[in-house]
Symmetry: C2
Subunit: 181 residues, 2 copies
DNA sequence: AGCCCCATGTAATTGGTTACATGATTGC
DNA sequence: GCAATCATGTAACCAATTACATGGGGCT
């Protein structure tokens, strides 16, 4: 039931509407961690309200409902964050592809790994300046901007995959033709 | 529909029964990439057979059915592997927790990050000797053992998360009491 | 007036989990 | 003979995606 915890976690940052939360899932949380669309988010918020984990703090124009965490919601979020089960739920198409690289012919595998390496390099080029700009504005001692840790995670993630792809290319070797000369 | 591709990828390694495939998902593919239980795998194999991507190559004792990839199955696997869509499906509880570290009070966040760092360190201690033993047995020039690239990915993954957790702890600082002295 | 975005919801279908159900073979 | 494991399946329920549906408000 992690969608609920994702919502609790996002609301811990501050009150938000279903619409706001939907847009949050369009960002990096949806790209790297957990996806959700509005048609799932609205009913879940309703259930959470029923369970007393959130409340409608304010209603705005166009029927906008701004939800806020309750004490119970906070408690549940904290419990979930600190209570790490043995088996966590994973379903990641990208990682799946990496696990299956060796199911391809060596030539295809090389092509794929080269694509991955290039893609990671591009993302790193993209992310690093954003992080550095963030850090330049930040006064030491102040609390970190929300999302800074997640951003750093993403960056290091790409660096790791990049390194892995290069290592794999080297390991596969360029001298493994499917057809012998 | 990635379960199908996971199955195609596993079958590319060699023919297997639904039972064999179920056990494969209990291993690292299920831990890091994609989870599936037998109740989903059996019907999916049946559908894949109907679609001509796999065939029952052999029936054994206890009604065991050994499935093998067809040419169509191979083609579909290759298409999926080399055709990387913009938006891939992700749902990872562990990454979600990392994204939400900043929703905790600093003291809790530190506790969590310390736990993550320790856990990664332990996994690295576990994995590295396995990889090294694998490599020691391996003659250069031979094709890599199946799963070697995936294993390396896992190891580098843990190293990246470990580094991230330590960096985050440093960034959070130890001098950020929730209550002022 | 008209367009775009804000904003919320429901319905139908597919994908996934948990529980139910059954039985054969192997090894002791 | 008995236990463990091999082996396959279905049913009920829950989660998620895609499509349908509606309308208000801000801006030009």
């Amino acid at each position: 039931m992690s969608l609920r915890h994702a919502l609790l976690g996002l609301l811990a940052h501050g009150p938000a509407s279903g619409y706001d939360l939907t847009r949050a899932f369009d960002g990096s949380i949806g790209r790297y961690a957990w996806q959700a669309g509005h048609s799932r988010i609205y009913p879940e918020l309703a259930k959470m309200a029923e369970a007393g984990q959130v409340v409608v703090e304010e209603t705005g124009p166009r029927g906008r409902k701004t939800y806020a965490l309750t004490a119970d919601g906070h408690t549940e979020l904290r419990r979930w964050m600190l209570h790490w089960p043995e088996q966590t739920s994973v379903r990641d198409e990208t990682v799946l592809r990496m696990f299956l690289v060796q199911s391809l012919e060596p030539d295809d595998a090389r092509k794929l790994l080269e694509g991955i390496a290039a893609h990671c390099a591009a993302e790193i080029e993209n992310l690093r300046p954003v992080m550095e700009a963030d850090d330049a504005e930040h006064t030491p001692g102040d609390p970190l901007p929300f999302g800074r840790l997640a951003g750093e995670y993403g960056l290091r993630q790409y660096e790791a995959v990049h390194g892995w792809a290069l290592w794999s290319l080297e390991r596969l070797g360029s001298a493994q033709p499917a057809t012998r000369a």
